[in-house]
Amino acid sequence: MSTTLLKRRIWKDKSAHALMAILTISSLFLLIVMGVGLYLKSENILHEHSLWTLLTTTEWKPLKNVFGFLPFIMGTLWVTVLSILIALPISLLTAIFITENARPWVKHFVFPALDILAGIPSVVYGVWGTLIIVPWIADKVGPHFVDYTSGYTALAGGIVLGVMIIPVLVSLFVEIFSAVPQDFRDAATSLGATKWQTSRMIILRKALPGIVAAVVLAISKAFGETIAVLMVCGNMIQNPTSLFDSCYPLPALIANNYGEMLSVPLYESALMFAAFILFFIILIFNASSRILLQQIEKRFKL
């Protein structure tokens, strides 16, 4: 009796083991299936046009079988670079302030604020962008630099995305800065360095790989953000030449055209190719920055 019970328990354990292993391995395959699936879907367009033409021409006329992705790629680059330029200095200074200078009670309301910022859905960021940022650019900032701008610009996209990635950057930076051993700070202080000198010459330098990894992670978040940029960027197919031009990032292209996808030949394939580009770039960026972050974690622990 007791042996059969034991056998049953062991059998249960073994079958659970197998089941969980299958579940884990299949979830591991999700990434691969996704990449392969998107690639297979975009193969049609890659057969007809060379990769180089697709990526470097600016004409986009799906009805005439002309697909140039450059305006969308440039749009994505513009908003991404802008968002990093806006978010990076603010996030770095905020994170140094929180870890090095601030009294403990400051954390008690900065962290929840960051939590909330991180949790606000992107569609709400989009609403905020159209309510505050777009009119601000159209009425206040734009007239100083250009004759006319609608406000739906690369700059608007950059600002909205910048605010969206600030919480990601700050929380990663705080984690990285806190990992720098206290001894370094003490040593610097004993040599007569001020707090800021310590932060600049010790903390920032020690944390540099971590900062790079965090920025790469933030870039990949900005890259894929869809609804918010769709709402504030203006979506005109052109290569933006100034901050006050409309742009049309890749994710917005996919989201805007999903309805018409099936009626035009190759159109679906073109959009899936856009999704594949996003997938591929983010895969590389994310994997490398995660590996880098792990290395850093290991180094500080030893």
Binding site: L93, L117, P251, I282, R290
Partner: protein, 277 residues
Amino acid sequence: MKLKFIEEKIFNFLMLLSTFIVLAFLGSILWAIVKHGWPALNWDMVTKLPGGGFYIGKEGGVLNAIIGSFYIVGASTGLGLLISIPVVFYLNVYLKKKSRLAYFTRLSFDVLFGIPSIVYGAFAFTLMIYFGLRTSLLGGIIVITLLIIPIFIRSMDEVARQLPKDLLDATYSLGATRLETIKVVVRQIAPGIATATLLSVGRAIGDAAGVMFTAGFTDSIPTSLSQPAATLPLSIFFQLSSPTPEVRDRAYASALLLTIIVLILSLLGRFITNKFF
């Protein structure tokens, strides 16, 4: 005064300034949403379906989107938990600390976590075409489940990794099989599961790009899995693109609703984290 002290002063000011800017952004967002959303928010918004001519300013509400979001989020959170608890358990109890499989699984979930929802949406859409599915509640549930599994696993795994090894050894010494330690493990990481759930719900309810392709949009409440379903973020998006001011006001009110829901979830998450860790 020495240069380094001047520098110190300047940067201290800049640091304070940027912290203030971050807080000001949050304030600006909340203020804008409340200011524009509050006047248009009324009881009809949350209790009525869109009536005829809703999108040109006639009466109605966004109950379809609230219920649709609720269905999708509820079902995918359930499914997500069902899939991710075994995976986390497997990673932490069955596999050794230095296992290659565990390493690659964690890495791939880290990467999946960063894949944008529009890519999930596009991928799920191709799958749906392949299997002959139309945009439906089921499609929405599938894509949101895929989207939140990495969040679930990452945040539960973080808690589970800190599980003391002694605890497992103690249960083994009492004769438990590895599977039977799940009773101890789950109880131990329960607050982690709660936080992960709130995080996932927050992300799932706010996601628009993923469901755009897969769940579609409708003015009625879906009665089966094969019908399309509306979601709150998409409803905001569609209402906002209307030229009629009344409809745009309702978009702001819906945005306020969504923000309130997300705020409650996030505060609850922080509360649980503070209480139990």
